[in-house]
């Protein structure tokens, strides 16, 4: 058996928030989430470079959860680059953030965010929302077929 594939990239610099998000996504998912702490590392991971050079674009990433306020490279900048690059464009990207500044929401959608979710203060509500997010993007949503590796099979 191989180690489970990473299916979700979580970019959040706040360890407590990240832990709450992972708890809310559900235990069965935890092994399939990769957590990065800043925007630069998020891009390295997504674009398979620097410390993640051994990663390949064939790995089926099914969801990016992005905080807007990230150190080094902001969440919006990460989003911009991911949506510009044809190799990563099809991965659903959800902005999961405390901000509800209108300009952030507008900018997020302009850059191609697939969803914009404000983290509620109340944890019960927060858990519900994050859980639904995970359920939708990982179970309901049909991912885009990856063009670069057709024919690859078990």
């Amino acid at each position: 058996m191989r180690a489970p594939e990473v299916e979700v990239l979580l970019a959040d610099d706040n360890p407590a928030d990240a832990e709450l998000i992972m708890l809310s996504l559900g235990e069965d998912l935890v092994g399939r989430i990769h957590h990065v702490h800043d925007g630069e590392e998020a891009l390295d991971f997504l674009l398979c470079r620097a410390g993640y050079a051994q990663r390949t674009f064939e790995a089926p990433l099914r969801l990016i959860l992005l905080d807007i306020k990230l150190p080094k490279v902001s969440g919006l900048e990460v989003l911009e680059e991911v949506k510009r690059d044809p190799r990563t464009r099809a991965i659903p990207a959800v902005l999961l953030t405390s901000s509800r500044l209108e300009e952030d929401v507008v900018r997020g959608y302009q850059l191609g965010a697939n969803s914009y979710v404000q983290k509620p203060v109340q944890f019960e509500r927060f858990r519900q929302i994050v859980h639904q997010l995970g359920a939708y993007w990982l179970a309901v949503n049909e991912p885009a077929p990856s063009r670069g590796f057709s024919g690859e099979s078990q």
């Binding site: 706040n14 407590a16 928030d17 709450l20 708890l23 405390s98 901000s99 509800r100 500044l101 983290k119 509620p120 203060v121 109340q122 944890f123 019960e124 927060f126 858990r127």
Partner: protein, 397 residues
């Protein structure tokens, strides 16, 4: 001019007729009670040249000159130095010319042959005196205008500074309340997870403490949300349109339905006018006022809440009245302040932001809001919505 006796008066006589020149000269010298010097110009060009050199206090001007004649002689000179007193001295008595030049600013109009030395000197003195008064008037007018301008500039500067400070404060409030949300969520989150994790094993005291933590975070969460809304309100523009107020009230009442559960409330919602306002914002006003009315009538077996309108002809006042616990008018000035509360939190919950929000919305509409109450005898909140285009009676939407 108290020193007039010491400084000679400089007179310029503009006259092309040599005989008239000596006549005037003689009259001036014979009756001159003050020191003076007399310059003579026999053409308009020479007169203008001499005036440009400066120092002339008063001008005796003949209108008929070799290079100019009539009223235009006067206007040419007057245009060059508007503040110089000019006495027109001419050979013909033409009343229409006399009137014209005096209207245009000549100090006097004298006819040669009808003047003597005393009259000339008196005319010169009065002319100089009048001109001095006029100069001072112009000067003080200029000063007043300058003061006004500088005042306006200062008001504009202060207003801009105030607006900038307000903006900064709102941005600050916004980012503070925004950044407060994350740690709050974490406290709430981990305390709940702790309950789930260790709940059954915890003794009742520990469970009580954890509940207290959660109550605290929930309350702070509401505070932060209300503050955020208030801050956002400051940045928001008012978009008005003709709005039926009864629709807003009915919407607000149905939104609040869950707040009163199975309590008995007698609603009395009177006819409300069509009003020019921002419907989204005014609905927030009604939601807040009615939610307060529902809250503060809680001890009543039968709560009575009335919404109505008084006044007419576009100056109506909207009134929201309840039979709740009311408040002491002594504290009425605190009512609309942020975080100001008149009731204990364990009796009536609340963040103290609602009425501040209401007042801000009303002010943004150019209106006023006030309250009347008596402890234990209910409260009445009244507001107007400015006077811009408010319709008087209910009109079809």
């Amino acid at each position: 001019m108290g020193s007039a006796g010491l400084v000679p008066i400089e007179i310029l006589l503009v006259e092309d007729n040599a005989g008239d020149v000596s006549l005037v000269q003689e009259m001036l010298f014979r009756t001159g009670a003050v020191p003076f010097s007399l310059a003579i110009a026999n053409t308009l060009a020479a007169a203008l040249g001499r005036l440009r050199a400066g120092g002339i206090d008063v001008l005796l001007l003949d209108l008929g000159l070799p290079d100019s004649s009539g009223v235009s002689t006067f206007t040419s000179v007057h245009a060059q130095i508007p503040t110089l007193p000019i006495i027109v001295l001419t050979g013909v008595c033409d009343p229409s010319i006399a009137l014209t030049v005096v209207q245009q600013g000549a100090q006097d109009f004298l006819v040669k042959g009808q003047v003597d030395g005393n009259l000339i000197w008196r005319t010169i003195r009065y002319a100089m005196e009048r001109q001095r008064g006029r100069r001072e008037l112009v000067l003080s007018e200029t000063r007043v205008r300058q003061l006004n301008e500088s005042l306006e500039r200062r008001v504009a500067d202060r207003t801009a500074a105030l607006a900038a400070a307000n903006r900064e404060l709102e941005t600050f409030t916004y980012s503070v309340s925004h950044d407060l949300r994350a740690p709050l969520r974490q406290i709430d989150g981990f305390s709940r997870i702790l309950v789930e994790h260790a709940g059954p094993a915890l003794d009742s005291k520990s469970q009580h403490y954890l509940r207290r933590i959660q109550e605290g975070t929930q309350h702070m969460g509401r505070l932060v949300d209300d503050l955020l809304n208030l801050a956002q309100l400051g940045r928001q523009d008012v978009h008005t349109r003709a709005t039926p107020l009864d629709t807003l009230v009915n919407d607000a009442v149905s939104e609040l339905r869950a707040d009163w559960g199975d309590r008995r409330i007698e609603w009395a919602i009177g006819a409300l006018p069509m009003v020019e306002c921002d419907p989204g914002l005014i609905k927030i006003v009604f939601t807040n006022l009615l939610s307060n009315a529902i809250k503060y009538t809680r001890p009543r077996e039968v709560a009575k809440i009335a919404v109505g309108c008084t006044g007419s002809n576009g100056r109506c006042t909207i009134v929201v009245r309840d039979n709740g616990v009311g408040f002491n008018m002594k504290y009425a000035d605190k009512l609309f302040g942020v975080f100001q509360r008149l009731h204990r939190a364990d009796q009536f919950e609340g963040s103290g932001v609602g009425l501040a929000t209401v007042q801000r919305i009303i002010h943004k509409h150019g209106g006023e809001i006030w309250a009347e109450a008596e402890p234990d005898h209910g409260a009445t909140f009244s507001f107007t919505l400015g006077h811009r285009g408010n319709h008087s009676a209910a009109e079809p939407a």
